[in-house]
């Protein structure tokens, strides 16, 4: 089979070429342009002006630098807090929902539901809900960064607990009951069984879910845009939204926006690779 497919270029054109062409248009070319354009000043594609590292240095200068740094810490803190909160809650829910009591299937169904709706709808729903509560304190989601932070946190927990729970439930169902039974006979209490047997055995699910929630946290955009749209004076503007606003709500800053996007890519990429390396080394043990 391999010989036939290698020999006749027709098979290459039929099987690989369509995806390859689309991948060029949808990824490779824009990616390459993106890197080049981060060193240019421009408004459209036709007025590219090479400026070297000027865009990169502008990111960290004066007022702009302050906004970017704030946005970075907001994002990093949010990614961290949401990762811990979502995974702890999802794991607990999964442990309880793998016990057999009435309605576990219905509860799983309900908790997963928000994932079908998408960031824009979720953000819209929670904007109405949370502003409806905050109005009695004469505040809104945008009046302070803390409001925005907590609002986003509630929203993301509400959305992602169900998703991660599904992964944890599958992992927990893979832990054999014989092992737990044996430990019980040897005199282990339920806490010891959880920490010494269950958690080590579902480690692959745990690292998968931490990976997903952490990268989701860093890359969060839709929910940020609809729920707070960055808040007043950027007080809840995360990195992805900050880049978007640099591109589309300021004149003459597109080059800086692209430079920010390159750094953002390096940051997200580094986190993803570090996490994968950690998972791999753990699985090798």
């Amino acid at each position: 089979m391999e010989k036939i497919m290698k020999k006749n270029p027709g098979y290459f054109c039929l099987f690989l070429l369509p995806t390859l062409l689309a991948f060029m248009i949808g990824f490779v070319v824009p990616f390459g342009m993106g890197i080049y354009m981060s060193f240019c000043k421009f408004n459209t594609l036709k007025d590219l002006d090479w400026v070297g590292f000027e865009n990169y240095s502008k990111i960290f200068m004066a007022d702009e630098g302050e906004i970017v740094i704030n946005s970075f810490w907001f994002t990093a803190l949010f990614a961290l807090v949401s990762t811990v909160a979502i995974n702890v809650i999802a794991f607990m829910v999964a442990v309880l929902l793998t016990k057999n009591f009435g309605g576990t299937n219905i509860f799983r169904t309900i908790f997963f539901m928000p994932n079908l709706l998408g960031g824009v709808l979720l953000g819209t729903i929670w904007k109405i809900l949370l502003n409806g509560i905050l109005i009695s304190f004469k505040e809104t989601l945008t009046t302070s960064g803390i409001n925005g932070f907590i609002g986003l946190l509630i929203l993301m927990i509400w959305q992602q607990v169900g998703y991660m729970m599904i992964i944890y439930v599958a992992g927990l169902q893979g832990v054999s009951d014989d092992l737990k039974e044996a430990a019980k006979i040897d005199g282990a209490d339920s806490k010891q069984i959880l920490f010494r047997i269950t958690i080590p055995l579902v480690m692959p699910s745990i690292s998968m879910c931490t990976f997903l929630t952490l990268t989701n946290g860093f890359k969060l955009f839709d929910q940020n845009l609809t729920l707070t749209s960055g808040g007043l004076q950027h007080n809840s503007e995360m990195l992805a939204l900050n880049i978007y606003n640099t591109f589309y709500s300021r004149v003459g800053w597109k080059g800086v926006g692209q430079a920010k996007a390159v750094l953002f890519f390096l940051l997200v990429g580094a986190i993803a690779i570090a996490q994968l390396k950690m998972t791999q080394s753990k699985e090798a043990d």
């Binding site: 689309a22 990616f31 016990k99 809900l129 609809t226 996007a261």
Partner: protein, 294 residues
């Protein structure tokens, strides 16, 4: 699931009475927690019958004589203010075409990548994996310009963009599956006189069915809900998708059309929830097979 039930029945015999009590407590506690998951969606439904001012100021109240507007909001969403149905149709066209295109092209591509051992298939495969960790913001501006130049800014052509940007995940899942398919099956087909094309469509593709369903579900969930890519790529004056209109009408138009937004959300969410209840098993499977370590 089945194993779980069996072992639990065994242990139930020993501590039946004690379990029953704690079971009821668990059911009650989770029912209360579930309210927090159901209420936000219910609130959308309730508010879709209220005036737009009362939605913003008192979202938790039930409609009364002064705030109840009947189906006015739905009328506005569909007929006058939002032109919601054309957005719904655009979303449907884009999602169905893109998912079909992705499934067909990437499954064929994955087959070629797995069966043809050459430097270019390997390079392409790793480049696709690499694309999975690149955030959209990195390429959004050049992408929107390139697609504009090529005229890919309509619902019928944007699937090409989705094929390009979404190739990574799909290719990864398909190749992962194909690695475990033994060559012997295909060799048998070859001896029977099938060329690569017939072998792929009549032998390999049917084996891939479970993965195709999983990939299809993951891609559908992504594309149906995607906001930024279509917003930047589509010619927004003529073509809007569901997430785009819902965000668009919260934009800077003075007063936000909460009524029409609520009604359109109800129209969007209802079929999704029904579809979800029917396809739940497949959706859960899709999520799980997407969560293999990447």
């Amino acid at each position: 699931m089945a194993d779980n039930n069996l072992t639990n029945i065994k242990s139930d015999d020993e501590i039946k009475v004690k379990r029953k009590k704690s079971d009821i407590i668990f059911t009650v506690v989770f029912s209360i927690i579930s309210i927090f998951w159901v209420y936000p969606l219910l609130m959308v439904l309730i508010n879709s019958f209220k005036t737009k001012l009362s939605i913003g100021s008192t979202p938790f109240n039930l409609p009364d004589e002064t705030t109840f507007v009947g189906l006015d909001n739905y009328d506005q969403a569909v007929n006058t203010k939002m032109d919601f149905f054309s957005a719904l149709i655009n979303s449907l066209i884009i999602t169905i075409l893109s998912v079909a295109l992705i499934l067909l092209c990437t499954s064929m591509c994955a087959y070629f990548v797995i069966r043809v051992n050459a430097w270019y298939t390997k390079a392409f495969y790793y480049l696709c994996l690499f694309s999975m960790i690149v955030p959209f913001q990195m390429i959004m501006f050049p992408l929107s310009k390139v697609t504009d130049m090529l005229g890919l800014n309509s619902p019928f052509l944007i699937p090409i963009v989705y094929l390009g940007f979404g190739a990574g995940t799909a290719l990864f899942m398909f190749t992962n599956f194909l690695k475990s398919v033994p060559l012997e099956i295909e060799e048998a087909a070859m001896i029977d006189g099938c060329g690569p094309i017939r072998t792929f469509f009549s032998v390999v593709l049917p084996i891939m069915k479970p993965t195709i369903i999983s990939v299809g579900i993951l891609e559908t969930m992504w594309i149906w809900n995607d906001y930024l890519l279509p917003y930047l790529v589509l010619n927004i004056r003529y073509y809007k998708t569901v997430p785009i209109v819902i965000q668009y009408f919260q934009g800077s138009f003075g007063q936000v059309e909460w009524g029409a937004i609520m009604a359109s959300m109800v129209i969007t969410i209802t079929p999704i929830v029904i579809l979800y209840l029917c396809l739940q098993k497949h959706i859960v499977k899709g999520v799980l097979s997407g969560a293999v370590k990447g």
